[in-house]
Amino acid sequence: MSAPLIMFLIFIAITLGITYWASKRSAGSSAYFAAGRQIRSWQNGVAVAGDYMSAASFLGIAGIIAFQGYDGFMFSVGWLVAYLTVLLVIAEPLRNAGKYTMADVLAYRLKPRPVRALASLSTLTVSTFYMIAQMVGAGALVALLLKGSGISYTTAVVGVGILMIVYVVFGGMLATTWVQIIKAILLMAGAFLLSILVMAHFHFSFYAFFDAIGHVTYHDKGQEVVKDFLQPGLRYKPPYGPLELISLGLALIFGTAGLPHILVRFYTVPDAKTARHSVVWAMALIGSFYIMTTFLGFGAATIVGRDFIGTHGGTNMSAPLLAQALAGDIFFAFICSIAFATILAVVAGLTISASTSFAHDFWTNVIHRGTERKPGEEVRVARISAFVVGAVAIAIAILLGPTANVAFLVALAFAVAASANLPVIVLSIFWRRFNTTGAVAGLAVGLLASIGLILVSPSLMAVDPPTVTGAARHLIQAKAWFPLENPGILSIPLGFVGAILGTLLSHEPSSTHKFNELLVRSNTGLGAEKAIASH
């Protein structure tokens, strides 16, 4: 048995133990969906950070920096700064006025059924796309990392899928939160150790480190090139590079505050004050982590090199290969097992937010008009839908195969969150005149604009040479109609325009009358959902 496999089995054993412990404390809706609202601020902060720092961050960003230098670091910056939107605008109103999902906040003053139905659709879209991207990545990665242990892509996808279903179905939000906390601590420790080792390699001289980044040598089409990796422009080149950067920034700044699996975390704490403090905890961790991507990414570029990474698994292997180069096979195994843990925890977080939205918004409040017919039914439906969502994600990930181009799914998830979810939440909290037609129009336009623009973007639309075959070929073989991979710059304004026009073109006095209720609730916490212990 290989070392990565042993370490991963230890992680599985610990998390299954937690799931068993949590399963005995997850009776009742509030316990299952919101961990009884008893999570402390530091715990929730670490869990938010864990939910957010996916394999895409750990392996993906380190890889982009290792291959394209400074431009990759731009992702790191946006991913932290986006939390200011969460902190200043979203976290407290959401905790004060909601129960389990983002749609709860909308349902106060708007007609619940159409609004919940669309909000649930948007949540499921974001979560499923994000999850499929993670699963395909996971499968390819596990197969690569455990090469020689006989674990194939399909086995890896099924394994990850079954584990995430077990965490969510049996352990609910409590287990998911603790899996997230453990993984986040492991991830921080791994990144910290790697950073120290990188600096030790440069004898703890930042001058020498940045000097080495100034002349990174690699081969491009047989030619040796030397580049300054600290200079902008290696990834985002004219004519569309600058616009792409701004569009990416918009998607991150407005999308993070609309990601369902992040939003549900604020329901697990006792009150708005704790929610606020937990965002600050999350920002401390997320910021430290993304600053460390400097050492991970540039370290891989200077110490391991593009040429070696390119022939040993590609960009995503940059961080693990750096670990191997600096401290040998055991540390490589440790970093690999952190990568597994990361993927597993993130897909579990996505599964619980998707199934909560389906059970609470769609089943209880759309199909059955706001009444739980039997006690415990909502939780039962959530468990079944977690199972279904997980099974669907496994099936699609296997169908797509390890070479499928899935990076655009993450861009799509952020675009939908920024263009459909965020405008509607913000307008609902801050605009007295806002109404149901506006919310429905905003959600629908934001969702369709994001999907539509990505369909005709260079991610899915390009002319491939005949040498490119199979899953790696672009879906539509023609020149892209929309030049950017991130549609945010157009789809976010469209979402807002849809919501505002829909509102202005219709009349709904009841939503205006009930604005005071939402205003008072979201700003003071009067009438907010209490933690279980206080009952």
Partner: protein, 117 residues
């Protein structure tokens, strides 16, 4: 909690009464004074980064210390900007909590005395 959504004899619900109260307006004003400038500042500061990197790459490549350039330093400063705003907001938030707690206490007292009549 008493049924707060029902209007009282003046045709006002608890929510309307609280929303119109002096304390609540005070809370909203206190929040706005912090949140709106902080939000606008962070948007401008953040979007300067992709704009400068995208449209003035040569300026951003100016070296400051050894190979360390403006682009990296400005990107790094974003982290400290975000942490600073978050820290200031947490301090301001204690004030919001004090006013909110007063509002909640008063509103519940009012509702309870109404229920006792």
């Amino acid at each position: 909690m008493p049924d707060a959504t029902k209007p009282d004899q003046n045709g006002q619900s608890m929510w309307d009464r609280v929303a119109a109260s002096h304390e609540f307006r005070d809370l909203m004003a206190t929040k706005k004074i912090f949140i709106i400038p902080a939000f606008l500042f962070f948007l401008v500061y953040y979007f300067l980064l992709p704009i400068l990197v995208g449209y003035a790459p040569h300026f951003m490549s100016i070296k400051v210390w050894g190979n360390l350039n403006l682009a990296y330093l400005f990107a790094l400063s974003q982290f400290f900007m975000a942490w600073t705003i978050a820290g200031l907001y947490v301090r301001a938030g204690d004030d919001f909590d004090d006013i909110s707690n007063d509002i909640i206490e008063k509103a519940l007292k009012h509702e309870n005395s109404k229920g006792a009549n």
